[in-house]
């Protein structure tokens, strides 16, 4: 549930930059998010590994603006408390989080 909230917030932040339609499309293209309705809040993480799902979302958005997109995502994770979820995140993502502090 915590990861879903983070993903939801990432998509909202990215929507402010690129528009909701594209932000949703990129999230769907990541393969780990399914929207249950037209409401961007109504989503489900479809991938079994929540930490890996978060990394896939970040990698998807990275395709668009590079590090700029990644920093937006990482900023969201920090706001939710990166320390609390660091146990379930892949090492590669934890490294990115610690570099950006």
């Amino acid at each position: 549930m915590h990861i879903e909230n983070i993903v939801r917030e990432i998509i909202k932040e990215q929507s402010q930059i690129i528009g909701e339609q594209l932000a949703r499309q990129i999230a769907i293209n990541s393969g780990v998010v399914k929207f249950n309705s037209t409401n961007v809040d109504d989503l489900t993480i479809t991938s079994p590994g929540e930490g890996a799902a978060l990394e896939k979302i970040i990698n998807s958005y990275e395709m668009l603006f590079g590090n700029t997109s990644v920093e937006v995502c990482i900023d969201v994770i920090h706001r939710f408390g990166s320390k609390e979820i660091s146990d379930i995140l892949p090492d590669s993502l934890n490294q990115r989080l610690s570099r950006s502090k």
Binding site: G19, N29, L64, F65
Partner: protein, 273 residues
């Protein structure tokens, strides 16, 4: 209904027509006094009008005024449309009311409006490109203050330092100050965005955004050329500055078109069977 190919064909065709027209004027109107010189100068704004409409269509894909990228594409497009409307205004005054040299007139409202619109366009590009991240560094904070100040200073020195406002109507003096300083401001923002975001900005958007910033710099060069020619009384209809405007509208429109097919570009590559 709309596709990138059609946008490109229309834009390139218009640019081709006006480029050939300009070359023909160079060869067949050496004294620059042919009516075709006037027709050229009074019509090339079509390219900016078409570019603006194309840009507005594309901005809808990016959320129009609901996102930074949508706003930037929309404001830049409105700026192009204002350039077109400015030219149309002067054309109406000349061909319908038979008034020559009507400067300044209602057309200046549109030309002036394009400056804040371009500023808003660049500012939203800057926000989308991560300028907030870059401005956390002290050196970029300094650049963000110095660069616009320097550009305005250079513009003042080049265009205004020997400006003689005696016997010049106040409205003309005002415009003669606002244009070079306002244009220096938007081009300095474009340069600032480039220099401060180039280490962060990557992905599909990097090339597209830098292309649009380059288009704005070129527009500034075209505007500066026009001011130079006008002040030195070397401007003529269908001259070099008119060609540079044609080129700048063309480059800007091409830059906007590059944002059209983003939904195709973000599709994941299909796995080989």
């Amino acid at each position: 209904m709309f596709n990138k190919k059609i946008f490109n064909i229309v834009t390139v065709s218009l640019f081709f027509i006006y480029s050939i027209w300009w070359l023909l004027l160079l060869v067949f109107s050496p004294n620059h006094d042919s009516p075709f010189n006037d027709y050229f100068a009074d019509s090339y704004g079509i390219l900016s009008g078409v570019g603006g409409i194309i840009g507005l269509i594309i901005s809808k894909k990016w959320g129009f005024l609901q996102s930074y990228m949508g706003k930037s594409l929309a404001y830049l497009s409105f700026g192009l449309i204002c350039q077109f409307l400015g030219q149309v205004s002067y054309s109406i005054i000349f061909y319908v009311y038979n008034i020559e040299n009507a400067y300044p007139s209602i057309g200046e409202i549109f030309y002036l409006a394009s400056i804040p619109l371009y500023v808003l366009g660049v500012w939203n590009i800057a926000k989308a490109s991560g300028i907030k991240l870059s401005l956390q560094k002290t050196k970029y904070k300094m650049v963000s203050i110095l660069l616009p100040f320097l550009m305005i200073l250079v513009s003042y020195h080049v265009f205004l330092i020997n400006y003689d406002s005696q016997e010049v109507p106040f409205s003309v003096v005002l415009l003669d100050y606002i244009y070079p300083i306002g244009q220096a401001f938007f081009v300095s923002l474009a340069l600032l965005t480039y220099f401060t975001t180039r280490s962060y900005l990557g992905g599909l958007m990097r090339g597209k955004i830098f292309f649009v910033l380059f288009a704005l710099v070129f527009q500034y060069i075209a505007d500066s050329m026009f001011i130079f020619e006008t002040r030195s009384e070397n401007w003529y209809a269908g001259g070099l500055s008119d060609l540079m405007f044609v080129v700048s509208y063309f480059i800007m429109t091409l830059g906007l078109i590059r944002f059209f097919s983003i939904d195709e570009e973000i599709k994941p590559a299909k796995q080989a069977v």
